[in-house]
């Protein structure tokens, strides 16, 4: 799997990029590719998402220059911003197994954060990666032309107060955490990026 580091990319722009990778992957012009990047502050609401899970008025976000985007992925509301590593695996699924794909992303992230001293796990029925009872990574996958897009967001040094303004993924009483929060020390984004790229390379093979 190829990995591309894109730096900070606005949400909509990143979506266009994903779709252009997706189109080329669908006709097999490129191999499976993992796009790694960060987003400026943005709240995104999945197709089934309920705006009521945003706990502050839209206008107050607008006043701070933060966007609320409704997007064509599964899942409810989440937050992206600086200090959070976002990964969009563009993977061709010849014989789709969407649950195995989601479980594989979880496994890759569990591996990746362990290298930084964080023990994490899955919780049955709650997609994502959890350190104890707190969510360290969110996952939401879309499929078009049998190619995956959207993906995961791993909190490295994310400002966690941003999550307190939403019912995370539509779940009341669920909190977010980050590698920095769990370990008390902030790892370099480049180091996390490398670890995540390596783990995804191991776990996201064999879907084509």
């Amino acid at each position: 799997m190829e990995t591309v580091w894109l730096g900070e990319v606005a949400y909509r722009e990143a979506l266009d990029l994903q779709l252009s990778y997706l189109d080329r992957r669908a006709i097999r012009r490129i191999p499976d590719t993992l796009l790694l990047l960060t987003h400026p502050h943005v709240y995104t609401l999945g197709r089934a998402g309920d705006e009521a899970n945003l706990l502050v008025p839209r206008e107050s976000l607008a006043a701070e220059g933060i966007q609320l985007e409704r997007v064509g992925r599964g899942g409810d509301i989440t937050y992206h911003g600086p200090g959070q590593l976002v990964g969009y695996p563009i993977v061709l699924m010849e014989r789709p197994d969407v649950h195995r794909f989601v479980r594989s992303i979880e496994a890759a992230l569990i591996d990746a954060v362990r290298a930084f001293g964080v023990e994490s796990r899955r919780i049955e029925g709650l997609t994502g990666v959890w350190a104890g009872e707190r969510k360290i990574a969110s996952i939401g996958v879309g499929i078009r032309k049998w190619v995956t897009y959207h993906g995961f967001a791993l909190n490295v040094t994310t400002d966690l107060s941003r999550f307190r303004r939403i019912h995370l993924c539509g779940l009341k009483g669920r909190e977010a955490t980050s590698i920095a929060e769990e370990t008390g020390s902030a790892p370099a984004m480049e180091a996390v990026r490398e670890a995540v790229a390596a783990a995804c390379g191991r776990h996201l093979e064999g879907f084509a």
Partner: protein, 434 residues
């Protein structure tokens, strides 16, 4: 040739998916791999591409429906020579019934004048199970079996009165099924619809100049909440006439010292004290249990530009009058600037509503679920009242308030409910707030 588009197997452990939306219409010409519809499973949304080029002949599943794998979702006519169904004949989405007219009743699609053809190898969908003469989908059949429901008792809102998945969900949510299972001797009564939308009532005709205002998310939330509350809790409403002259005296005294207090903090203070003494009023309902809450967190309804908000005063019983007043002022300012934090809006154990300066005599408030009680302030009006002065009946002028209270009779009986309101009144009339 007419070929089936079936719900694909999206993975070993995936047995069903929800149709999110259709991306094509009946009659549309499409290329192979053209996206037909979006399916949602767990946290993955997938667009399903067309297995073949052709014309969309039939769409068989409506958005929101859960379908098992291999169920037929649509039919594609691959023969360009086959006549195109006339637009009038094409099933149209019916907003009223939220369905395609007659699509479950019709065995074949729009008439296609072509010689008999061999159906492709995809397995046909299982015939819809029936209960008596009621046609239902496999999902509804499964739900009915799981919950042991008699579908003939569920009012169907689908085509031809068909019972839809939503009908079953609402029926289950209404609790009517518990009655059905628990006491079969009870004669069937019409289950109560809990949807805030009166779906069975036809929309009144619009006259010129009428304005249609779709509900905002907050409006929907309030609508859903109040309907659910009225349906869940048998509200008992009681009223007390409270002589507020001692409260008025305390207010006047504070005002001289430069502190402006409204009547609301006094009522909050008195309620907190009474809640401490009568714990059943400071409770929430969880399933078939009552949770007596240790802490007293009073939600106070505030009308803001964004709509009705209920900020919560945490540990209201530990706050002084001035602290309560200051906290209410803060909430007011935060609500106005839209900066009220989510933590401030959750976790209440009891509520108070105050119509404010444009209030009225009394009202019957709706309980804020899952709480079990709520107080409502009436207007404070000077009235002649009869009091005892040195053993003589005398008429004096007093500021009087009718204080309304609703309690949930599932949990609270008259003794506790009346006792609570009596105690609040006693504290207010005694005028001691420390």
């Amino acid at each position: 040739m007419l070929i089936d588009v079936v719900m694909p197997q999206l993975g070993e452990s995936v047995v069903e998916g929800v149709v999110v939306k259709w991306l094509v219409e009946v009659g549309e010409l499409i290329a192979k791999d053209h996206p037909l519809l979006e399916i949602s499973t767990d946290k993955v949304d997938a667009e399903i591409p067309s297995p073949s080029a052709g014309r969309v002949a039939q769409i068989l599943v409506k958005p929101g429906e859960t379908v098992p794998i291999l169920a037929v979702l649509a039919k594609i006519e691959t023969d360009p020579a086959a006549s195109r169904p006339e637009p009038e004949e094409a099933p149209k989405w019916d907003e009223e019934t939220e369905g395609f007219p007659g699509h479950m009743a019709r065995k074949t699609g729009p008439p296609i004048p072509a010689p008999p053809r061999v159906e492709p190898s995809a397995p046909p969908p299982p015939p819809p199970p029936t209960t008596g003469r009621i046609r239902i989908t496999p999902v509804v059949a499964r739900m009915a079996a799981e919950h042991g429901l008699d579908l003939s008792r569920i009012p169907g809102t689908g085509i031809d009165g068909r019972v839809t998945r939503r009908d079953v969900e609402e029926y289950l949510a209404s609790g009517a099924s518990a009655k059905e299972a628990g006491s079969p001797a009870v004669p069937p009564s019409a289950p109560i619809a809990v949807s805030p939308r009166a779906r069975k009532v036809p929309a009144p005709p619009l006259a010129e100049g009428d304005q249609v205002v779709p509900w905002t998310p907050i409006r929907k939330k309030i609508a859903e909440h109040v309907v659910r509350s009225k349906h869940t809790s048998p509200h008992v409403h009681i009223f007390a006439e409270v002589d507020m002259h001692r409260v008025a005296a305390v207010r006047a005294k504070e005002k001289k010292e430069g502190v402006n207090l409204t009547y609301l903090p006094f009522v909050i203070h008195a309620a907190a004290k009474a809640l401490r003494e009568i714990p059943i009023m400071n409770a929430t309902v969880s399933g078939e249990s009552t949770v007596l809450k240790k802490d007293i967190h009073i939600g106070v309804a505030v009308d803001t530009e964004k709509g009705l908000l209920v900020p919560v005063l945490r540990h209201a019983d530990r706050m002084s009058l001035k602290e309560i007043s200051a906290a209410m002022d803060d909430f007011g300012a935060q609500a106005k600037s839209g900066k009220i934090s989510p933590d401030d809006l959750s976790g209440g154990t009891f509520s108070i509503t105050n119509p404010g300066i444009k209030g009225n005599l009394f009202g019957t408030p709706i309980i804020n679920q899952p709480q079990v009680g709520i107080l409502r302030l009436g207007q404070i009006v000077k009235r002649p009242v009869v009091i005892d002065v040195d053993g003589e009946d005398s008429i004096v002028i007093r500021p009087v308030m009718y204080l309304g209270c609703a309690y949930d009779h599932r949990v609270i009986d008259g003794v506790a409910g009346n006792g609570f309101l009596y105690r609040v009144r006693e504290i207010l009339e005694a005028g001691i707030f420390s």
